[in-house]
């Protein structure tokens, strides 16, 4: 399966990745090769096979509804790029 420039640009947008224009052909080629490799799966009949999402088909564990987390806001925000008054700052989204 061959991906073209538009495909790569669309995927990169969905993944919110800026890709340099000059790099698009190489990504298109690499991704097409990977999809060819992955395509080998399509020859296998899996019509009656239940998908396996987790090795033990485990379900989410439950615990008592008690507060176990401490408030560590300042500590955790110490590694943030920009904060003010306990909030994470990002570029303006509403004019």
């Amino acid at each position: 399966m061959a991906l073209n420039r538009t495909d790569v640009e669309k995927i990169a947008h969905l993944a919110r990745l800026q890709i340099d224009d000059n790099d698009v052909p190489e990504y298109a080629q690499n991704l097409s090769n990977i999809l060819d490799l992955i395509g080998q799966m399509q020859n296998i009949d899996t019509s009656d096979i239940e998908p396996l999402a987790h090795p033990f088909d485990a379900v989410q564990r439950l615990r008592a509804d008690k507060i176990t987390e401490l408030n560590q806001r300042e500590h955790l925000q110490s590694v943030a790029p920009a904060v003010a008054n306990g909030l994470f700052l990002v570029p303006k989204v509403i004019e």
């Binding site: 990977i34 490799l37 999402a53 033990f56 955790l76 590694v79 920009a82 570029p91």
Partner: protein, 483 residues
């Protein structure tokens, strides 16, 4: 005192031959003098190490020492370490000083080990050669023109070069076993859920598993005694008792049934390596084991299934790196979308971007059934193969890798070429089974790994099977020239 195993060092500390501070200083000195050849560490935590060593010596003097007290180790830079940069080999986290410890790190600290530093790795554990690290490739101490394997290649190179006696690693598709094989080490990927993933930066959450890397099975067992166990902070950690992994290392192997999957001895396997694996199997026969040919017919499909499931999970896991709460943020973003796109475009390397895009594509509208669901169905077929075979034999053996360590740059032009390196290791992660790689010989001066696969939670058996081989052979004691 260097060039010893953890078990030997533990004895030296216990008998007062040297202190933990002396031992730690000796390793720090060697890292300082030698690591420029290998680039195996991203961060050396000298101050922390000396603090921990001093505390360990104090604790020993007070009579409170336990099995690992004062032993130096290194952690793969994927395990969050409080107050220390935890980069996952990425520019994205180059400025990330972790505000908390991973459970694995916390447990080692509580056991009294000394953290020498954080080891180099493929970016976000995505790679089989350590060449995708933002901090530059790591070199194999057996031949510095060759890769140490990946993604735990920094841990492997550091141990092989004698810069640490042991280290932690993580294995999503072979990332403990393949570098162990390439660097003549013993590496164990435990059963999925045996070791907590809390604070271990996520790549593919249904496959990721942390484990030990060391010279011997005995050392790996000592580390497993610390690492394994249920963790309320990881809901996928297994709720099962942890045995003493060192207790049955010497159990006789009489009557052990070994399965050799014919698919592991395919045309892909280097013929000289096939001979070494067969010789190792004969050694097991001499130890009392019986051999049976078995079949894992879906082995080849593990590559395509893995390269859907892992990228799909990665594309979701890595969406958290958006420049908002921690890590890299691009300069002067003009709006939010520009910030997301440039932060991620500039912060991630090309292999990470490729896998995010493959995963995004596979999960996008209209393709889910053809890719993700199909891969999970194949995942079940692979698991069923193993369950069938492991009802007939105790362990499965074969090569860890199809070739010995390859040259830097040899497989970087076509990602698919690199992906095929993992053909013998991926299937265990898909099935969630434990596996080891142990040294079993040399070809043209390069180490060869024997892979041993066991049933769910059979780590104790695997370590026993590996230990008995290491009692009968001395491959694991070989060191690179000059060391």
């Amino acid at each position: 005192m260097l060039n010893k195993t953890l078990a030997e060092l533990a004895k030296g500390l216990e008998q007062g031959e040297f202190s933990s501070v002396e031992l730690t200083q000796a390793y720090l000195e060697r890292i300082k003098n030698e690591d420029s050849k290998y680039n195996s560490f991203i961060t050396v935590t000298e101050e922390l190490a000396l603090q921990q060593a001093t505390a360990a010596d104090t604790s020993r003097a007070a009579g409170n020492a336990t099995a690992m007290t004062g032993l130096p180790i290194a952690h793969k830079d994927i395990f969050c370490t409080e107050g220390v940069r935890t980069s996952a080999g990425s520019k994205m986290l180059d400025n990330f000083i972790s505000p908390y410890d991973a459970t694995v790190v916390r447990k080692f600290n509580a056991a009294g080990t000394v953290t020498l530093g954080k080891t180099n790795m493929d970016e976000f554990a995505m790679g089989s050669s350590n060449e995708s690290s933002f901090y530059g490739p790591t070199r194999n101490p057996w031949d510095t023109d060759r890769v140490p394997g990946g993604s735990s290649g920094g841990s492997a190179a550091a141990i092989a070069a004698g810069l640490t006696p042991a280290a932690t690693g993580t294995d999503t598709g072979g990332s403990i076993r393949q570098p162990a094989a390439f660097c003549n080490l013993t590496g164990l990927k435990p059963t999925y859920g045996r070791v907590s993933r809390y604070g271990m930066i996520a790549y593919a959450s249904s496959l990721d598993q942390g484990g030990p890397m060391a010279h011997t099975a005995e050392d790996a067992a000592m580390m497993m005694n610390v690492m394994a166990g249920t963790d309320p902070l990881d809901s996928t950690s297994a709720e099962r008792n942890v045995p003493d992994y060192t207790a049955n290392l010497d159990a006789p192997l009489t009557g052990l049934k070994i399965g050799l999957p014919k698919e592991f001895f395919s045309a892909r396997l280097d013929p000289a390596m096939a001979t070494l694996i067969q010789t190792a199997v004969k050694e097991y026969e001499a130890l009392g084991a019986t051999i049976k040919e078995v079949s894992l017919p879906n082995t080849a499909l593990s590559v395509p299934a893995y390269y859907i499931i892992a990228p799909a999970e990665a594309s979701s896991n890595l969406s958290r790196f958006d420049g908002v709460r921690y890590g890299y943020r691009c300069e002067d973003p003009k709006d939010l979308e520009d910030m997301y796109k440039r932060t991620r475009g500039e912060g991630f390397g090309s292999e990470v971007k490729r896998r995010i895009m493959v995963g995004t594509y596979a999960l996008s509208e209209g393709f889910y059934d053809a890719y993700y669901k199909k891969a999970q169905q194949i995942r079940r077929l692979i698991q069923q193969d193993f369950i069938r075979v492991l009802s007939e034999v105790d362990v499965i053996m074969g090569p860890t890798t199809p070739t010995p360590a390859f040259k830097l740059g040899e497989k970087t032009s076509d990602p698919v070429d690199m992906y095929m390196e993992d053909i013998f290791t991926l299937s265990l992660n898909l099935a969630g089974l434990p596996g080891m790689s142990i040294p079993c010989g040399m070809t043209n001066g390069l180490p060869v790994g024997l892979q041993i696969i066991g049933n769910y939670f059979a780590e104790e058996k695997l370590l026993n099977v590996a230990h008995k081989f290491q009692q009968a052979t001395d491959w694991h004691t070989l060191k690179p020239a000059g060391l």
